[in-house]
């Protein structure tokens, strides 16, 4: 499904600050997999997501989705098949637009944004239903601007919006890191539910070891631009949180929140 082949990525090339992040990095992810990625700061987790999404260019190598090369595709074209939720809840919604307007925009992804009415009235009930599944009461605040919602509410909306239309990939970029533990748990449960319902291939970068172990069917640990631990299926289930924590501590990182 997704293949990263011989990826090279340098930062600040040609300057004294030049640093090599990836050297011959390879990764392949199968259709329908839910991959959790953990790693130390600067290990390349988020950079990997940015490379996949096209937010930053790569120096050499190939990125393929379903054997189609997307290496040189601009970010917004790749976004057609990718949904992404960011660490910052502000990134996934438009704060000055209402909940309804945000939902309507997300609903229109991959369709033309022409001069027709922005909000299709017939879809309002569907939006309400979808929002009520969050159990946050947002379905009664359709005309409230998103900017006045709490971080957790916004992140829940961002998650809904990014998965509203059929996508091949869901990218979760430390999407619970900016939330308080209780809200983070809620969002994580919601994530799991959506991923299972839609059977969408997912990559989740997280600092939270507990989530990484509990959710997903494959776990990758990254360090200095390399994958140093990669177990899936039964192997993953067999590894206890302590084993992983031990490895974690060896590469000396914090244990998330």
């Amino acid at each position: 499904m997704l293949n990263l082949v011989d990826i090279h990525k340098y930062y600040n090339p040609g300057t004294v600050n030049e640093s090599c992040l990836f050297k011959d990095f390879n990764l392949s992810i199968d259709e329908g997999e839910f991959v959790s990625v953990v790693g130390s700061n600067g290990s390349g987790k988020t950079s990997m997501l940015n490379l996949i999404c096209g937010s930053i260019p790569l120096d050499s190598g190939k990125i393929l989705i379903n054997d189609i090369e997307i290496t040189d595709m601009p970010e917004h074209i790749r976004a057609k098949r990718i949904g992404r939720v960011y660490q910052n809840p502000a990134m996934g919604t438009c704060p000055n637009m209402t909940i309804l307007e945000n939902m309507a925009m997300a609903d229109n992804k991959n369709k033309p944004f022409h001069l027709g009415r922005g909000t299709n009235k017939k879809r309002i009930n569907f939006y309400k239903e979808t929002l009520s599944s969050l159990d946050l009461g947002l379905e009664n605040k359709l005309n409230v601007t998103v900017g006045s919602l709490s971080g957790g509410q916004r992140q829940a909306m961002a998650l809904l919006m990014s998965t509203m239309t059929p996508i091949e990939f869901l990218i979760l970029d430390e999407h619970t890191a900016a939330l308080d533990p209780k809200t983070a748990d809620l969002i994580m449960k919601l994530t799991d539910k959506i991923v299972k319902e839609k059977k969408v291939t997912t990559i989740m970068v997280t600092h939270n070891l507990r989530y990484a172990v509990k959710y997903g069917d494959r776990l990758i640990m990254m360090h200095n631009g390399e994958s140093i631990f990669d177990k899936s299926g039964e192997d993953k289930k067999a590894s206890s949180i302590d084993d992983i924590l031990k490895l974690f501590n060896e590469i000396s990182i914090e244990c998330g929140n």
Partner: protein
């Protein structure tokens, strides 16, 4: 008294068309677009040249609108495709347009007193009763402003309009929606500059002549009006932002008219404007702080 109010309304509403353009770039797109100083006289040059070649004055407005849109697209392309900073792209286009405007017009001052305009034509002479004649200018401007405002309000509620608002609000989301945020910005700049050129065209027809130097300072008037309007009416729920911007333009022109009427020299007007600007900003911040404290 009536004349002064009439004058303020005429000028304020006429300029509000330009202000709506500045509102799109500055408030919605978060793009301080200086090319406006060039597109305002551009609209004037286009309309005056076409009128003096015998084109229907109403039709020339359409041409001015589209030529203005082209100028906006150029600013957008310079910013988006060549990655020039927003302020600089505006300055580049504004500077270039000065020469372009002179080229279009042929010289720096073209009168059209002897031609028909939307404000003076056979139709008005024939069908408008004598009593209404002093108000006809205002009536025509009100009609145009209402049409422009209705279209803009309508546009901002379309799918394309949503995307435009999203581009200023959170451009990451535009990318997430698989849309090219650069393209959205270009569209926004095109609409904004089209409106500014339209205002410039109407202004030239109202005045009866085109003068190249009349564009200088347009962007300041626009920004001041947008800020006055949005700040003064931000907490009054039933007033749409577009209406607030139009009111802002009228308030701005009223202040200038009052200052002139009081005999303050024109050289001091800019200082008065900036003081007014500052007062409005301080007052609105003050109010916001109080809301937060409560």
């Amino acid at each position: 008294m009536l004349t002064i109010i009439l004058g303020i309304l005429e000028e304020g509403l006429l300029y509000s068309i330009m202000t709506l353009g500045v509102y799109i770039t500055y408030k919605i797109l978060d793009f301080p677009d200086l090319s406006v100083d060039g597109t305002f006289p551009l609209g004037g040059a286009v309309t005056v040249v076409l009128i003096s070649r015998g084109m229907n004055p109403l039709l020339t407005l359409l041409f001015a609108f589209f030529v203005g849109a082209m100028a906006g697209i150029i600013t957008g392309i310079i910013h988006v495709k060549f990655k020039v900073r927003d302020l600089l792209s505006g300055i580049i286009v504004m500077t270039g347009l000065y020469s372009v405007n002179l080229r279009i017009a042929g010289r720096s001052n073209i009168p059209i007193f002897s031609y028909e305009t939307i404000f003076e034509n056979k139709f008005i002479d024939k069908y408008i009763p004598e009593k209404l004649v002093p108000y006809i200018g205002l009536i025509i401007i009100i009609i145009i402003v209402l049409i422009v405002k209705a279209l803009l309000d309508r546009y901002l509620e379309t799918k394309s309009g949503y995307l435009l608002r999203a581009a200023g609000d959170n451009e990451v989301l535009v990318t997430s929606l698989a849309k090219d945020k650069g393209l959205v910005k270009i569209i926004g700049l095109a609409i904004a500059n089209a409106l500014v050129a339209l205002a410039g065209a109407i202004y030239s027809q109202k005045q009866g002549f085109f003068e190249i130097s009349n564009g200088t300072g347009t962007v300041v008037i626009g920004l001041a009006s947008v800020i006055i309007g949005t700040k003064a009416f931000q907490n009054i729920g039933f007033i749409k932002t577009t209406s607030a911007v139009i009111l802002g333009s009228i308030i701005y022109k009223a202040c200038v008219a009052i200052a002139i009427s009081l005999g303050l020299p024109a050289s001091d007007l800019r200082l008065i404007t900036s003081t007014l600007f500052l007062i409005i900003l301080i007052v609105s911040q003050d109010r916001m702080r109080r809301v937060k404290d409560a």
